[in-house]
Protein backbone atom coordinates (compact mmCIF):
# COMPACT_ATOMS: atom_id res chain seq x y z
CA UNK A 1 0.00 0.00 0.00
CA UNK A 2 1.33 3.42 -0.88
CA UNK A 3 2.26 5.48 2.16
CA UNK A 4 0.21 8.51 1.22
CA UNK A 5 -2.94 6.50 0.86
CA UNK A 6 -2.28 4.84 4.18
CA UNK A 7 -2.20 8.17 6.00
CA UNK A 8 -5.23 9.44 4.15
CA UNK A 9 -7.30 6.63 5.61
CA UNK A 10 -6.25 7.02 9.22
CA UNK A 11 -8.95 8.38 11.55
CA UNK A 12 -8.28 11.84 12.95
CA UNK A 13 -7.57 10.73 16.49
CA UNK A 14 -4.93 8.23 15.45
CA UNK A 15 -3.39 10.80 13.15
CA UNK A 16 -3.06 13.12 16.13
CA UNK A 17 -1.35 10.42 18.19
CA UNK A 18 1.07 9.55 15.38
CA UNK A 19 1.88 13.23 14.88
CA UNK A 20 2.63 13.54 18.56
CA UNK A 21 5.18 10.78 18.10
CA UNK A 22 7.01 12.90 15.52
CA UNK A 23 5.61 11.03 12.54
CA UNK A 24 6.05 13.77 9.95
CA UNK A 25 3.90 12.16 7.31
CA UNK A 26 1.07 11.91 9.80
CA UNK A 27 1.56 15.57 10.69
CA UNK A 28 1.56 16.47 7.00
CA UNK A 29 -1.76 14.68 6.52
CA UNK A 30 -3.16 16.30 9.66
CA UNK A 31 -2.27 19.77 8.36
CA UNK A 32 -3.81 18.92 4.99
CA UNK A 33 -6.99 17.78 6.67
CA UNK A 34 -7.39 20.82 8.89
CA UNK A 35 -6.14 23.68 6.72
CA UNK A 36 -9.28 24.16 4.62
CA UNK A 37 -11.39 24.24 7.73
CA UNK A 38 -9.14 26.78 9.45
CA UNK A 39 -8.85 28.94 6.35
CA UNK A 40 -12.62 28.99 5.94
CA UNK A 41 -13.10 29.79 9.61
CA UNK A 42 -10.84 32.84 9.41
CA UNK A 43 -12.66 33.90 6.27
CA UNK A 44 -15.69 34.52 8.49
CA UNK A 45 -13.78 35.74 11.53
CA UNK A 46 -11.29 38.20 10.08
CA UNK A 47 -12.50 41.49 8.71
CA UNK A 48 -9.30 41.90 6.77
CA UNK A 49 -9.07 39.65 3.75
CA UNK A 50 -5.29 40.01 3.56
CA UNK A 51 -4.90 38.55 7.07
CA UNK A 52 -6.67 35.27 6.40
CA UNK A 53 -3.69 33.41 4.95
CA UNK A 54 -1.34 34.61 7.70
CA UNK A 55 -3.79 33.67 10.41
CA UNK A 56 -4.25 30.22 8.88
CA UNK A 57 -0.52 29.64 8.73
CA UNK A 58 -0.03 30.81 12.27
CA UNK A 59 -2.83 28.55 13.53
CA UNK A 60 -1.35 25.54 11.72
CA UNK A 61 2.09 26.39 13.04
CA UNK A 62 0.79 26.58 16.60
CA UNK A 63 -1.05 23.33 16.05
CA UNK A 64 2.03 21.54 14.74
CA UNK A 65 4.26 22.90 17.46
CA UNK A 66 1.83 22.55 20.35
CA UNK A 67 0.51 19.10 19.50
CA UNK A 68 3.02 17.49 21.82
CA UNK A 69 1.33 19.21 24.78
CA UNK A 70 -2.14 17.94 23.94
CA UNK A 71 -2.81 15.31 26.59
CA UNK A 72 -6.09 13.87 25.36
CA UNK A 73 -6.23 13.35 21.57
CA UNK A 74 -10.03 13.13 21.84
CA UNK A 75 -10.12 16.84 22.65
CA UNK A 76 -8.15 17.76 19.52
CA UNK A 77 -11.00 19.60 17.85
CA UNK A 78 -11.79 21.87 20.76
CA UNK A 79 -8.07 22.32 21.43
CA UNK A 80 -7.51 23.44 17.84
CA UNK A 81 -10.45 25.80 18.07
CA UNK A 82 -8.92 27.27 21.18
CA UNK A 83 -5.89 28.18 19.05
CA UNK A 84 -8.16 29.72 16.41
CA UNK A 85 -10.08 31.66 19.06
CA UNK A 86 -6.89 33.01 20.64
CA UNK A 87 -5.62 34.17 17.26
CA UNK A 88 -8.96 35.83 16.58
CA UNK A 89 -8.77 37.80 19.82
CA UNK A 90 -5.09 38.64 19.22
CA UNK A 91 -5.97 40.08 15.84
CA UNK A 92 -8.80 42.12 17.35
CA UNK A 93 -6.48 43.55 19.97
CA UNK A 94 -4.01 44.57 17.29
CA UNK A 95 -6.60 46.13 15.04
CA UNK A 96 -8.50 48.06 17.71
CA UNK A 97 -5.44 50.29 18.03
CA UNK A 98 -6.09 51.50 14.50
CA UNK A 99 -8.81 54.12 14.26
CA UNK A 100 -10.69 52.83 11.22
CA UNK A 101 -11.69 49.57 12.85
CA UNK A 102 -14.05 50.82 15.50
CA UNK A 103 -15.51 47.98 17.47
CA UNK A 104 -19.25 47.77 16.99
CA UNK A 105 -19.96 45.74 20.06
CA UNK A 106 -22.93 47.79 21.02
CA UNK A 107 -25.52 48.16 18.36
CA UNK A 108 -25.53 51.77 17.27
CA UNK A 109 -28.66 53.24 15.77
CA UNK A 110 -28.70 53.21 11.99
CA UNK A 111 -28.19 56.95 11.86
CA UNK A 112 -25.27 57.37 14.19
CA UNK A 113 -23.48 54.45 12.61
CA UNK A 114 -23.63 55.77 9.10
CA UNK A 115 -23.12 59.43 9.80
CA UNK A 116 -20.50 59.36 12.51
CA UNK A 117 -18.45 56.26 11.90
CA UNK A 118 -17.23 55.66 8.38
CA UNK A 119 -18.36 52.27 7.19
CA UNK A 120 -15.30 50.31 6.12
CA UNK A 121 -17.06 46.99 5.89
CA UNK A 122 -17.93 47.39 2.25
CA UNK A 123 -17.47 50.11 -0.26
CA UNK A 124 -20.57 52.17 -1.10
CA UNK A 125 -20.47 51.04 -4.73
CA UNK A 126 -20.58 47.40 -3.70
CA UNK A 127 -23.31 48.08 -1.25
CA UNK A 128 -25.67 49.25 -3.97
CA UNK A 129 -25.13 46.03 -5.86
CA UNK A 130 -27.26 43.02 -5.24
CA UNK A 131 -24.82 40.75 -3.49
CA UNK A 132 -24.73 37.05 -3.84
CA UNK A 133 -26.12 35.24 -0.80
CA UNK A 134 -22.76 33.84 0.19
CA UNK A 135 -21.11 37.25 0.23
CA UNK A 136 -24.12 38.54 2.09
CA UNK A 137 -23.75 35.88 4.76
CA UNK A 138 -20.05 36.62 5.23
CA UNK A 139 -20.73 40.32 5.53
CA UNK A 140 -23.49 39.73 8.05
CA UNK A 141 -21.30 37.47 10.15
CA UNK A 142 -18.38 39.89 10.00
CA UNK A 143 -20.59 42.73 11.14
CA UNK A 144 -21.72 40.83 14.24
CA UNK A 145 -20.24 42.02 17.52
CA UNK A 146 -17.02 40.08 18.04
CA UNK A 147 -18.20 37.91 20.94
CA UNK A 148 -21.32 36.94 19.01
CA UNK A 149 -19.27 36.25 15.92
CA UNK A 150 -16.83 33.83 17.56
CA UNK A 151 -19.65 32.05 19.42
CA UNK A 152 -21.81 31.42 16.36
CA UNK A 153 -18.78 30.34 14.29
CA UNK A 154 -17.62 27.86 16.92
CA UNK A 155 -21.14 26.50 17.15
CA UNK A 156 -22.40 26.40 13.57
CA UNK A 157 -19.21 25.96 11.61
CA UNK A 158 -17.10 24.04 14.10
CA UNK A 159 -19.83 22.13 15.87
CA UNK A 160 -18.54 22.74 19.39
CA UNK A 161 -20.81 22.30 22.40
CA UNK A 162 -21.78 25.29 24.56
CA UNK A 163 -19.45 24.00 27.22
CA UNK A 164 -16.51 23.86 24.83
CA UNK A 165 -17.31 27.33 23.51
CA UNK A 166 -17.52 28.67 27.06
CA UNK A 167 -14.08 27.23 27.74
CA UNK A 168 -12.54 28.58 24.54
CA UNK A 169 -13.91 32.08 25.04
CA UNK A 170 -13.45 32.18 28.83
CA UNK A 171 -17.07 32.70 29.73
CA UNK A 172 -20.09 30.87 31.15
CA UNK A 173 -22.42 28.48 29.36
CA UNK A 174 -25.30 30.89 30.02
CA UNK A 175 -23.46 33.69 28.25
CA UNK A 176 -22.68 31.42 25.31
CA UNK A 177 -26.35 30.46 25.07
CA UNK A 178 -27.38 34.11 24.97
CA UNK A 179 -24.67 35.17 22.51
CA UNK A 180 -25.57 32.42 20.08
CA UNK A 181 -29.29 33.18 20.29
CA UNK A 182 -28.67 36.88 19.70
CA UNK A 183 -26.24 36.19 16.87
CA UNK A 184 -28.90 34.06 15.20
CA UNK A 185 -31.47 36.79 15.70
CA UNK A 186 -29.23 39.36 14.07
CA UNK A 187 -28.33 37.06 11.18
CA UNK A 188 -31.97 36.25 10.54
CA UNK A 189 -32.76 39.94 10.52
CA UNK A 190 -29.94 40.77 8.17
CA UNK A 191 -30.68 37.90 5.81
CA UNK A 192 -34.45 37.94 5.97
CA UNK A 193 -34.81 38.88 2.31
CA UNK A 194 -32.52 36.06 1.25
CA UNK A 195 -33.52 33.00 3.25
Amino acid sequence: MSGKLFYKKIPLEELVILSQKSDYRALEELIKREQKNIFATFTYLSKKRENIADLTQEALMRMARGLINLRNPKTFKSWLNQIVTNLFYDELRKSTRKPQLVSIDTEPSENSFHTQIPDYRHKPAEKAMSLELDTMIKNEIKSLPEHFRIAIILRELQGLSYEEIAEATHTTIGTVKSRIARARGKLQDGLKNYI
Partner: protein, 183 residues
Protein backbone atom coordinates in the same frame (compact mmCIF):
# COMPACT_ATOMS: atom_id res chain seq x y z
CA UNK B 1 -58.83 -21.33 50.65
CA UNK B 2 -56.48 -20.95 47.71
CA UNK B 3 -57.38 -20.84 44.05
CA UNK B 4 -54.64 -21.56 41.60
CA UNK B 5 -54.89 -19.02 38.80
CA UNK B 6 -53.79 -19.91 35.29
CA UNK B 7 -51.16 -17.92 33.43
CA UNK B 8 -53.81 -16.44 31.15
CA UNK B 9 -55.85 -15.29 34.10
CA UNK B 10 -52.80 -13.72 35.76
CA UNK B 11 -51.86 -11.94 32.53
CA UNK B 12 -55.28 -10.41 32.38
CA UNK B 13 -55.04 -9.23 35.96
CA UNK B 14 -51.48 -7.89 35.88
CA UNK B 15 -52.19 -4.27 34.97
CA UNK B 16 -54.92 -4.06 37.64
CA UNK B 17 -52.46 -5.57 40.07
CA UNK B 18 -49.84 -2.93 39.25
CA UNK B 19 -52.39 -0.17 39.74
CA UNK B 20 -53.36 -1.79 43.04
CA UNK B 21 -56.98 -2.22 42.03
CA UNK B 22 -57.51 -5.85 43.02
CA UNK B 23 -59.34 -7.11 46.08
CA UNK B 24 -57.11 -8.33 48.89
CA UNK B 25 -57.92 -11.93 48.11
CA UNK B 26 -57.35 -11.73 44.37
CA UNK B 27 -54.16 -9.81 44.98
CA UNK B 28 -52.93 -12.69 47.06
CA UNK B 29 -53.75 -15.25 44.40
CA UNK B 30 -51.79 -13.27 41.84
CA UNK B 31 -48.86 -12.93 44.20
CA UNK B 32 -48.69 -16.62 44.94
CA UNK B 33 -48.75 -17.36 41.22
CA UNK B 34 -45.97 -14.84 40.54
CA UNK B 35 -43.86 -16.53 43.18
CA UNK B 36 -43.89 -19.85 41.39
CA UNK B 37 -44.15 -18.82 37.72
CA UNK B 38 -41.03 -17.22 36.20
CA UNK B 39 -42.67 -16.39 32.87
CA UNK B 40 -45.49 -14.42 34.50
CA UNK B 41 -42.98 -12.76 36.78
CA UNK B 42 -40.96 -11.60 33.76
CA UNK B 43 -44.12 -10.23 32.19
CA UNK B 44 -44.93 -8.43 35.41
CA UNK B 45 -41.48 -6.84 35.68
CA UNK B 46 -41.59 -5.60 32.09
CA UNK B 47 -45.05 -4.16 32.51
CA UNK B 48 -44.11 -2.47 35.77
CA UNK B 49 -41.04 -0.85 34.17
CA UNK B 50 -43.08 0.42 31.25
CA UNK B 51 -45.78 1.89 33.43
CA UNK B 52 -43.32 3.66 35.69
CA UNK B 53 -41.45 5.20 32.78
CA UNK B 54 -44.72 6.39 31.29
CA UNK B 55 -45.67 7.89 34.61
CA UNK B 56 -42.37 9.72 34.77
CA UNK B 57 -42.86 11.31 31.36
CA UNK B 58 -46.42 12.22 32.25
CA UNK B 59 -45.35 13.85 35.48
CA UNK B 60 -42.68 15.82 33.67
CA UNK B 61 -45.13 16.98 31.03
CA UNK B 62 -47.62 18.22 33.60
CA UNK B 63 -44.95 19.69 35.87
CA UNK B 64 -43.66 21.86 33.02
CA UNK B 65 -45.83 24.92 32.96
CA UNK B 66 -46.54 26.70 29.75
CA UNK B 67 -45.04 29.79 31.21
CA UNK B 68 -43.76 31.45 28.11
CA UNK B 69 -45.92 34.53 28.16
CA UNK B 70 -48.68 33.46 25.80
CA UNK B 71 -49.90 37.02 25.34
CA UNK B 72 -46.67 37.85 23.63
CA UNK B 73 -45.93 36.87 20.07
CA UNK B 74 -43.00 34.45 19.95
CA UNK B 75 -40.76 36.93 18.08
CA UNK B 76 -40.91 39.29 21.03
CA UNK B 77 -40.50 36.61 23.65
CA UNK B 78 -36.84 36.74 24.52
CA UNK B 79 -36.80 33.71 26.77
CA UNK B 80 -38.45 31.57 24.13
CA UNK B 81 -36.12 32.80 21.39
CA UNK B 82 -33.11 32.02 23.54
CA UNK B 83 -34.36 28.55 24.38
CA UNK B 84 -35.38 27.86 20.80
CA UNK B 85 -31.83 28.58 19.73
CA UNK B 86 -30.46 26.26 22.42
CA UNK B 87 -33.10 23.71 21.43
CA UNK B 88 -31.76 23.37 17.88
CA UNK B 89 -28.30 22.97 19.39
CA UNK B 90 -29.57 20.20 21.65
CA UNK B 91 -28.36 22.11 24.69
CA UNK B 92 -31.52 22.22 26.82
CA UNK B 93 -32.41 20.25 29.92
CA UNK B 94 -35.19 17.67 29.51
CA UNK B 95 -37.68 19.98 31.11
CA UNK B 96 -36.84 23.04 29.01
CA UNK B 97 -36.84 20.78 25.99
CA UNK B 98 -40.41 19.67 26.64
CA UNK B 99 -41.41 23.26 27.29
CA UNK B 100 -40.14 24.37 23.89
CA UNK B 101 -41.80 21.41 22.18
CA UNK B 102 -45.13 22.12 23.80
CA UNK B 103 -45.00 25.76 22.79
CA UNK B 104 -43.96 24.96 19.23
CA UNK B 105 -46.78 22.43 18.90
CA UNK B 106 -49.38 24.86 20.16
CA UNK B 107 -48.20 28.02 18.37
CA UNK B 108 -47.94 28.35 14.58
CA UNK B 109 -45.68 31.41 14.76
CA UNK B 110 -43.31 29.62 17.07
CA UNK B 111 -43.27 26.75 14.61
CA UNK B 112 -42.28 29.20 11.88
CA UNK B 113 -39.47 30.45 14.11
CA UNK B 114 -38.15 26.94 14.51
CA UNK B 115 -38.23 26.43 10.77
CA UNK B 116 -36.37 29.70 10.22
CA UNK B 117 -33.76 28.61 12.71
CA UNK B 118 -33.16 25.38 10.79
CA UNK B 119 -33.12 27.32 7.51
CA UNK B 120 -30.45 29.66 8.81
CA UNK B 121 -28.39 26.70 9.88
CA UNK B 122 -28.69 25.10 6.46
CA UNK B 123 -27.69 28.29 4.69
CA UNK B 124 -24.71 28.85 6.98
CA UNK B 125 -23.51 25.29 6.52
CA UNK B 126 -23.78 25.55 2.74
CA UNK B 127 -21.81 28.76 2.78
CA UNK B 128 -19.14 27.20 4.99
CA UNK B 129 -18.83 24.09 2.82
CA UNK B 130 -18.44 26.29 -0.25
CA UNK B 131 -15.77 28.41 1.43
CA UNK B 132 -13.93 25.32 2.59
CA UNK B 133 -13.87 23.92 -0.93
CA UNK B 134 -12.58 27.21 -2.28
CA UNK B 135 -9.54 27.09 0.00
CA UNK B 136 -6.91 25.75 -2.37
CA UNK B 137 -3.67 26.73 -0.63
CA UNK B 138 -1.57 23.88 0.77
CA UNK B 139 0.52 24.96 3.75
CA UNK B 140 1.72 21.54 4.85
CA UNK B 141 5.18 21.64 3.23
CA UNK B 142 5.78 25.16 4.46
CA UNK B 143 4.79 24.35 8.05
CA UNK B 144 6.86 21.17 8.14
CA UNK B 145 9.86 23.06 6.78
CA UNK B 146 9.51 25.78 9.39
CA UNK B 147 9.32 23.20 12.17
CA UNK B 148 12.34 21.38 10.73
CA UNK B 149 14.41 24.57 10.66
CA UNK B 150 13.46 25.38 14.22
CA UNK B 151 14.45 21.95 15.42
CA UNK B 152 17.75 22.16 13.56
CA UNK B 153 18.56 25.50 15.17
CA UNK B 154 17.51 24.20 18.55
CA UNK B 155 19.41 20.94 17.97
CA UNK B 156 22.66 22.57 16.83
CA UNK B 157 22.32 25.06 19.64
CA UNK B 158 22.30 22.40 22.35
CA UNK B 159 25.04 20.51 20.54
CA UNK B 160 27.19 23.65 20.57
CA UNK B 161 26.59 24.03 24.30
CA UNK B 162 27.73 20.47 24.96
CA UNK B 163 30.85 21.00 22.86
CA UNK B 164 31.63 24.29 24.62
CA UNK B 165 31.19 22.69 28.03
CA UNK B 166 33.43 19.80 27.00
CA UNK B 167 36.13 22.22 25.83
CA UNK B 168 35.99 24.16 29.09
CA UNK B 169 36.28 21.00 31.20
CA UNK B 170 39.07 19.68 28.99
CA UNK B 171 40.99 22.98 29.27
CA UNK B 172 40.66 23.10 33.06
CA UNK B 173 41.72 19.48 33.28
CA UNK B 174 44.79 20.05 31.05
CA UNK B 175 45.75 23.24 32.89
CA UNK B 176 45.52 21.46 36.24
CA UNK B 177 47.59 18.58 34.90
CA UNK B 178 50.20 20.98 33.54
CA UNK B 179 50.34 22.92 36.80
CA UNK B 180 50.64 19.74 38.86
CA UNK B 181 53.31 18.46 36.51
CA UNK B 182 55.30 21.73 36.82
CA UNK B 183 55.08 21.71 40.59
Amino acid sequence: MTINLTCTQVSALLSFYIDDRLSAQLKQFVESHLEVCPSCRAKFEALKAMVSSLKEVHEKMTAVKLDYNSNQIPQQNEEFQMNLSAYVDNELSDEENIKVKKYVISNAKARQDLENMYNLRKVLNNSFEKTKNEAKEDYSKYILKRIDIQEEIYGSDSFAKVVALFIVIFTIFTLTAVIIFWI
